[in-house]
Symmetry: C2
Subunit: 460 residues, 2 copies
């Protein structure tokens, strides 16, 4: 149990913490926009962490720097590394927001804003817990922080960064909060993420848009070719057709499938929330949670060619663009799958069409052990904050840092996430419940207090 | 041969006619834009034709009216109906124009502007010829004019209009100038057009864009489904896979293929102009001119789903749109093919996706007899104006009015077109050579003078 003084401090400072979080949310730190937003947010965080009394450095001269902070208490207590990211997704379609995306508003107990959950709201639970310990009984652990500005771009520089700063970021355990509960009343700890390869395809045909009457039948049409190669990525049973795509898949164990089945997943409610008649995605014949958590997938994220709608023209477009994301599971090899994908595309490009394939992001899949001291402490902390034993789940998402922490820093990890499935991540009207923010901070504070004892018990 | 006085009048009034044409081109009559541009252009034409002394009516209360004009000379001479359209294609991408699209400029003997060729420039050859006869020896034929404002939308109301005004538009022969020479130095008369079905597809999945990690594998992805169904419209040999698509195709005759082979079509130069390495479109194993003129095709004209490029996001898009144009040849049935297409699409939409198919435009294919009095007179007129016997060609394009004149007005037709293949129709930097404008007017005037005699010879 978290000590009473720290708990009370969190209770008494809710308004203050919310006020600070809103200051951060108001900074439009969209990493895709390549403007000054991310530098501004990094600066704000540096200032705030200094005010808390930490040593802070903003590292990286580029436009989306990392913020590193630390406070060393004693050598004989463990060190916890907190990871969060301050960059957010773009906000279009703008017209679907009920309130401006960078003007946080509280309605019916929810904070509405881009980044309210992902990840400004969630990383703030760390800052609140650290603040609470500092202002009451003092930090029970040494603290390090790594706040990234390129997570929504797929953390392209993070691997190199962790390698370069391996000693400086060395820790016993890392706390990452960038995922979500299984359901609103089901506290959940994530023990696995899918990997990701994000690719941009450009096909170029003639040197200009051509009249589809004059030229239809003469030249290969980049839109048709793009459609064809995206269409051929799946067969009629929803299986990915890339050569050997499933070869290295480590299937979910019986124990996992059994645990997932007990979660009470309500397919009908899930479909109703999405407004679809049926859950027609993924591989036929597999259960939906297995398809999302335990199986790799490919999705076209966007396509653009010619003109559609009001200004449409009967042309053969000069080019076609598409973005594709591949979600991987253990033990698929990210590089191998990327090469397979490139070969798949190149083999399908006919004479008269040029292809350009750009890899935008890559992250390896991860699956952690539920029985580690970090996971056990996290489970206790959840019970403390939410009054319920948590479930252990996997996520279909990709949080590149978790795999890098595992591989490069070789630290134990507690993936303590407080988002809810209905928080509309990456979508208009993103939101985060105030309750999850406040209880999340209690959970993190509880974790910090109890981890040293748990670690000692395991080490013995 | 055209009489000397009329020829001289055309020569002397080049500046004046060009000045008038520029007035018309400056009106941005983009039928897609649904603004006042088309009404403005119709009004200008009505005013100009009245000034020439014709009876004029602007018909149709909607935004893109038809302009009808006539001048009856005597009952014992034939009546010629001139058709042209004053509406033009949209102009995007705007940034690729070297001069503003609605500010006509002459550079190196070409008029540069949207509509310079298609069809303002070409229809002006009719007005110039009519003006020349009127101002010199008087009209040798009765004249009617039909100037349309919806051709670039596929003439959706024209069939009904011709049926409603059948008596008023009755004529012996129609002159249509809305196509092009086979090559710059090859005067050409078109005797066939492909038909057209233009369709807009919209697929809708979830009620919002979804995170491709959270939901990838759960729900059917409208972008993937759209890609798949567009991709499946062709097989790996470039054949259209729609059920019975080729069943009613009346293949080009040996005589036609023989005539086309003599045209000296230069595949390498054609590919070089388009900037492609190979002409990889259409059905494998058929010659490119046959593919364009004699075979039906399907092209995707545009696709749009999610976001690509700078603001791309790893989402499963909520919807996908595409526009598809089908080009038909005799004796394919437009309605039957449309139904086949709808069934093809509907059969490929999985659970969880809704489909909407909207038919935007439809026109039947046409193939005329080269030996008619109109065609023969036109051939003489070309020799008169261009000093060369014309070739007879087909076009891959669709000019709906020609099939309607054939079927509803049951009139003979002379498809006297003066555009060049390099005029960049529907593309940025559309252009039209001054030489084609001036010689085209001579050809039309010559046709008017010689048609009565030719008709009498045939009638005898």
């Amino acid at each position: 149990m978290l000590n009473e003084r720290t708990r009370q401090y969190l209770q008494d400072n809710r308004e203050h913490h919310l006020h600070k979080l809103f200051e951060l949310i108001r900074i439009p730190s969209v990493s895709k926009w390549e403007d000054e937003g991310c530098q501004w947010a990094a600066g704000w965080l540096a200032w705030y962490l200094k005010e808390l009394g930490m040593d802070v450095e903003v590292v990286g001269g580029h436009r989306r720097p990392n913020v590193i902070a630390s406070m060393h208490v004693r050598d004989d207590i463990p060190t916890v590394l907190f990871y969060g990211h301050y960059d957010v997704q773009p906000v279009d379609p703008w017209d679907q927001w009920q309130s401006p995306p960078f003007d946080p508003q509280v309605r019916d107990g929810w904070i509405y804003a881009r980044g309210a959950d992902d990840d400004k709201g969630q990383l703030f639970t760390h800052l609140m817990a650290i603040d609470a310990h500092m202002k009451t009984d003092g930090l029970p652990v040494n603290v390090k922080l790594l706040l990234e500005g390129e997570e929504e771009l797929g953390s392209p520089c993070l691997e190199r960064f962790l390698q370069d700063h391996k000693d400086r970021l060395a820790c016993d355990v890392a706390v990452v909060s960038d995922s979500s509960f299984f359901a609103a009343d089901v506290p959940s700890i994530t023990y696995g993420f899918r990997g990701l390869i994000c690719l941009e395809l450009t096909l170029t045909g003639a040197n200009r848009d051509l009249h589809s009457g004059h030229y239809g039948g003469a030249v290969a049409n980049p839109a048709d070719v793009m459609a064809r190669l995206i269409g051929e990525m799946h067969d009629e049973r929803g299986q990915v057709t890339l050569d050997g795509f499933y070869k290295d898949v480590f299937d979910a164990t019986e124990q996992e499938i059994h645990a997932w089945a007990k979660l009470g997943f309500d397919e009908a409610a899930y479909a109703a929330d999405l407004g679809v008649e049926a859950l027609g995605g993924g591989e036929h014949g597999r259960w939906v949670l297995e398809r999302i958590w335990g199986r790799p997938t490919i999705d076209c994220n966007g396509m653009s060619s010619g003109v559609t709608g009001h200004n449409s023209k009967t042309i053969i477009p000069a080019s076609a663009e598409a973005e594709v994301s591949i979600r991987l599971v253990p033990d698929q090899d990210t590089d191998k799958i990327e090469q397979t994908f490139r070969r798949f595309v190149e083999a399908r490009v006919p004479p008269g069409i040029k292809v350009d394939i750009r890899t935008i992001a890559k992250a390896r899949p991860l699956r952690l052990n539920w029985g580690s001291p970090a996971m056990r402490t996290a489970a206790m902390a959840y019970e403390d904050a939410f009054g319920k034993e948590p479930v252990f789940i996997r996520s279909g998402c990709s949080v590149p840092v978790t795999e890098l922490i595992d591989r490069i820093l070789e630290a134990d990890q507690a993936l303590m996430s407080f988002g809810l499935p209905e928080d509309r991540l990456h979508s208009p009207n993103e939101r985060f419940p105030l309750k999850q923010l406040y209880r999340g901070a209690v959970a993190v504070a509880s974790f910090m207090q109890n981890y040293p004892g748990m670690k000692m018990a395991y080490d013995r």
